[in-house]
């Protein structure tokens, strides 16, 4: 046994006063299929119910069943619990529960732990029948200790075997019990949680898991000296706790959308799993199409027939949908497309986070195809932006792409319960007679906007076509008509841009450094900026939600900072590489785009390790940039 005393030597429960903490980051890491995620999600949910700020992020291997005890197979979850609102995954874990030693190597490679991390590791490997495994385990423990990690070897398997013949199923609830003791969680809430997650299973299974939960708690109470208290936030309003994909799904329902046409793709699919379970209760339906192309074609057909539909996909699916997206732009058919981004290109990193679809979303189609592109930055925005996207699609008669990413998709966070407004729902299909003298593309010369006839409207009969067409909707062969219709489609996007306000700056309105982000990096960037500002660094940040058209005022804002850097999770060439010059350097996507839009010499900080942005990395960036005494490179 390692640093922990044997249970037989310490039979009595001890009364330890919990140590108060502002926050803690906990990881549970295991082979795939050992239930680590269920354990962590439960810990997150229990903590949220106790009033804590919470952020959870899943650690997912790419394969469904990677080989056991493999470094690449690390599966699990990170839970960050705080006494304030938690907006991101944080830096190094404070405490990690390891079900074997090999998976820890995978996490070490991702820089998840430091010399302050406390580890509780399954000790059954120390007595494994195979010499090789015993040796691997012993080596690993030595290695972890050498890194400064405080390692406690604990008898998870032995303890669980007292209650169940198959600890592989059930050990996760024993661990949950252990964590509930360490973090002084409300046991009755934990029991409710266990009953809820196994609600579809038999009573015997529920009982077994409750016994394991209590056993883990009791064992920890007798054997573990760590005991913490993370006080609750002071929140007076009702909160909802969910992940980003559930939030998107509920947003789809709250937008009054009644058809989601999809094809399975990671990490977007769980949006539609949630929809498939609940959509019909609110008058909607999920169509699983034969492929990504058919999924958007079906949605476009339904939108054309009157009710704006939605299709949900990830990068490779977005690529397949581009021809239909171009048609929706050309034919001015309202449509919402959600892209839950993952690592690319091609099949890339299906389960990992990346923000590499920005330019594809804005510019991906052949020909000139302006449309609206939004990016949600929080789990709460995932909900509200679908409602916004549906309204914009109809008001501006255009497809709207809403970008999310794998980090938001599986992250869990509480946010204020939305107050459902029936105004959010789409209107019934207009079947009143069409005004005979109104053309189907009666573009307003000022705004480019026009009203569309819907099948069933008497007198409105017209034919949608992807061919160049004039206001009558008829195929046009005159060059002026093509120029004029392209102008009208572009003009309405400009008209929408006129309604946008300049973005709010986090921090002072001027300074030495401005960080610009988009999507799920919001929490990490702002946390780093706050930390740096407390140390008197003159740094601010701003976060973009309206990607196309772009929000106004950026040129003016950028001019008040000595340097502007985008922070993104996508690829960019690193300056300093002998092969890379300022001329051939490939910039991160937002940086590239903003350089073109504002003509500022904007720098970028980005990478494609497939990991969520963490505040520590952003803080290091700020420190590096502002201690070098960089000159104003924008002037």
């Amino acid at each position: 046994m390692g640093d922990i005393k044997d249970i037989r030597e310490l039979p009595q429960k001890k009364v330890i006063k919990p140590v108060k903490l502002d926050e803690h980051i906990i990881e549970i890491v295991s082979d795939s299929g050992e239930g680590a995620q269920k354990c962590g999600q439960s810990l997150g949910a229990i903590s949220a119910k106790m009033g804590n700020g919470v952020w959870t992020v899943e650690i997912i291997p790419a394969e469904i069943q990677p080989p056991a005890r493999s470094r690449e197979g690390a599966s699990g979850i990170r839970v960050r619990i705080g006494s304030k609102k938690v907006t991101n995954t944080g830096n190094y874990a404070n405490l990690v529960i390891a079900l074997n030693e090999q998976v820890i190597y995978g996490r070490l490679r991702q820089d998840a732990y430091d010399d302050q991390t406390v580890m509780f590791i399954e000790n059954k490997w120390a007595t494994h029948e195979l010499d090789s495994i015993r040796q691997q385990y012993a080596d690993a423990i030595d290695e972890f200790k050498a890194l400064g990690i405080q390692v406690h070897e604990i008898p998870m398997e032995t303890e669980c075997l007292k209650l169940t013949p198959n600890p592989r199923k059930g050990k996760n609830m024993w661990v949950l019990g252990l964590l509930c003791y360490i973090y002084n969680r409300d046991v009755s809430k934990a029991e409710e949680q266990v009953q809820s997650i196994f609600r579809k299973k038999s009573q015997a299974i529920i009982e077994m898991n409750l016994r394991l939960l209590r056993a883990g708690y009791d064992w920890a109470e007798r054997n573990i000296e760590l005991h913490f208290e993370i006080p609750a936030m002071q929140v007076s309003s009702d909160q909802v706790v969910m992940n980003g994909n559930e939030s998107l799904s509920l947003g789809i329902m709250a937008a009054g959308i009644e058809l989601c046409s999809m094809y399975p793709i990671t990490p977007a699919t769980s949006v539609t799993h949630h929809l498939a379970e609940y959509f019909e209760r609110v008058g909607g339906i999920v169509h699983q199409a034969e492929d990504e192309i058919a999924a958007i074609g079906f949605a476009i057909g339904a939108s054309f027939a009157g009710k704006t539909a939605i299709t949900v996909t990830s990068g490779p699916g977005l690529a397949l949908k581009t021809e239909f997206l171009g048609l929706a732009v050309m034919a001015e058919i309202p449509l919402v497309i959600i892209d839950v981004q993952r690592g690319g290109p091609s099949t890339g990193l299906p389960t990992k986070v990346e923000q590499s679809d920005l330019l594809a979303a804005i510019y991906g189609e052949a020909g000139d195809a302006p449309k609206i592109v939004l990016a949600a930055a929080t789990i709460e925005e995932c909900f509200h932006f679908v409602i916004l996207a549906r309204k914009l699609a109809e008001s501006f008669r255009t497809p709207v792409i809403l970008l999310s990413d794998a980090n938001l998709a599986t992250g869990v966070q509480p946010f204020p319960r939305p107050k459902i407004d029936t105004e959010w729902f789409s209107a019934p299909i207009d079947q009143s007679p069409w005004k005979e003298d109104t053309k189907p593309f009666d573009w307003d010369p000022q705004t480019g906007l026009s009203k569309r006839p819907i099948p069933g409207q008497k007198g409105g009969m017209y034919t949608v076509t992807g061919l160049a067409h004039g206001p009558h909707g008829r195929v046009a062969y005159e060059p002026e008509i093509n120029q004029n219709s392209a102008e009208s489609r572009s003009r309405k996007i400009a008209a929408f841009q006129k309604t946008l306000k300049p973005p709010i700056i986090h921090g002072d309105a001027e300074g030495d450094l401005l960080l610009v982000g988009w999507g799920s990096t919001l929490g990490a960037i702002e946390e780093a900026v706050d930390r740096a500002r407390n140390l008197d660094f003159k740094v601010s940040s701003l976060h973009l939600r309206f990607m196309f058209p772009i929000v106004p005022g950026l040129t003016e804002i950028f001019s008040r900072f000595k340097k502007v850097i985008t922070v993104e999770i996508n690829y960019s060439d690193q300056l300093g590489d002998p092969m890379i010059t300022k001329e051939n350097r490939r910039y991160a996507q937002l940086a590239w785009y903003l350089r073109a839009k504002t003509q500022f010499d904007i720098d970028c900080f980005s990478n494609v390790y497939g990991q969520p942005m963490n505040p520590g990395k952003v803080f290091q960036l700020i420190e590096r940039e502002l201690s070098e005494g960089t000159n104003n490179i924008n002037s």
Partner: protein, 321 residues
């Protein structure tokens, strides 16, 4: 327009009577002698005879010569992407059971670039009429081999003759899951063409009609003889088949009795090399329909919707007040 018989007759009559003109629009730009012209006239006549309100009728097409079709109909139309008429047509019908849907496609559109959608549209079996304009060649892009071009066809992509046997669309469709209506007709026998589309329009499901069509510009020889030589056509006849007047029957030399409920015989006839069988190969009026599933929970009112959504949010809620 009020029907003048209103005041003279106690039998309820429609308020509006649609004539052939109500279903037409513009001047077709197909070549002279193209089979498209007679198909257009037949569809318009079927719409008129069934008094489909033009505003409740949608013609959906892909890309190709055939797919110009919606532009010449006085109904709503959707001229979309190459090969993708089926997903759009299915999306339109899914939540709008009140709309009459025609899906217009060609041999390149349906059997090549959109073949994946063909397989699944048949399986969805949503009520609509599918017209496959099959002239055995790519016309709009000027004479490339089509998947239904006979082996040896000289084309711009196979100047020495095409090297693979063609797809037989009837045989293929009869092999697909949940197939419910398969018929074949020709553009030049207008009585049979009309009667086939009429039968298709009544079918409770997806009615797949392959129209053997002449292309006088690029495939002058393919069906040139058949159109004048009655020997090549074999009429599939049955009391449950295509309803032809006795006078129309006289134009056929070969008549074969075929029960359209027999899918095995239908597959046999589809494979014949003795001539071109026309008529109803197969019909099953009780195959599952995906459009009925799609329409089952439409039109929920906002009060119910709000209530359902609130109770759903309750599952995720932590009460703090």
């Amino acid at each position: 327009m009020l029907n003048p018989t209103h005041e003279l007759c106690s039998i309820p009559m429609p308020d509006q009577y649609f004539g052939m003109d109500d279903y037409g629009k513009g001047t077709p730009r197909w070549c002279p002698g193209c089979g498209g012209h007679s198909i257009l006239a037949s569809v318009q006549r079927v719409c008129k005879d069934l008094q489909y309100p033009p505003e409740k009728t949608v013609c959906v097409s892909g890309i190709g010569c055939s797919s110009r079709f919606p532009h010449y109909m006085g109904t709503y139309g959707f001229h979309g992407l190459h090969g993708r008429a089926f997903p759009v047509a299915c999306g339109i019908k899914f939540r709008r059971p009140d709309l009459n849907v025609f899906a217009i496609t060609g041999d390149g559109d349906c059997c090549s670039i959109g073949a994946g959608h063909w397989v699944h549209a048949i399986r969805y079996n949503m009520k609509m009429v599918v017209l496959l304009f099959d002239n055995g060649i790519y016309g709009l892009t000027k004479k490339q081999t089509s998947p239904t071009s006979p082996m040896g066809t000289l084309s711009n992509t196979h100047p020495a003759g095409s090297v693979l046997p063609p797809i037989n669309p009837i045989q293929t469709t009869l092999g697909l899951a949940n197939v419910s209506f398969v018929a074949q007709t020709t553009d030049w026998n207008s009585a049979h063409l009309y009667a086939t589309i009429r039968k298709a329009a009544d079918h409770p499901g997806l009615a797949f009609v392959r129209i053997v069509q002449r292309c006088p510009v690029f495939m002058r020889d393919l069906y040139g003889d058949i159109a004048t030589n009655k020997d090549e056509l074999i009429l599939l006849s049955h009391q449950n088949g295509i309803d032809l007047k006795p006078s129309a029957l006289q134009s056929f030399k070969h008549i074969l009795e075929h029960d359209p409920s027999n899918i095995h015989k239908a597959r046999e006839h589809a494979e014949t090399e003795d001539g071109i069988p026309i008529g109803l190969f197969y019909q099953n009026t009780s195959s599952p329909r995906y459009d009925l599933y799609g329409a089952h929970n439409r039109g929920m009112n906002t009060t119910d919707k709000k209530w359902a959504l609130e109770s759903l949010l309750d599952q995720y809620t932590i009460r703090n007040n």
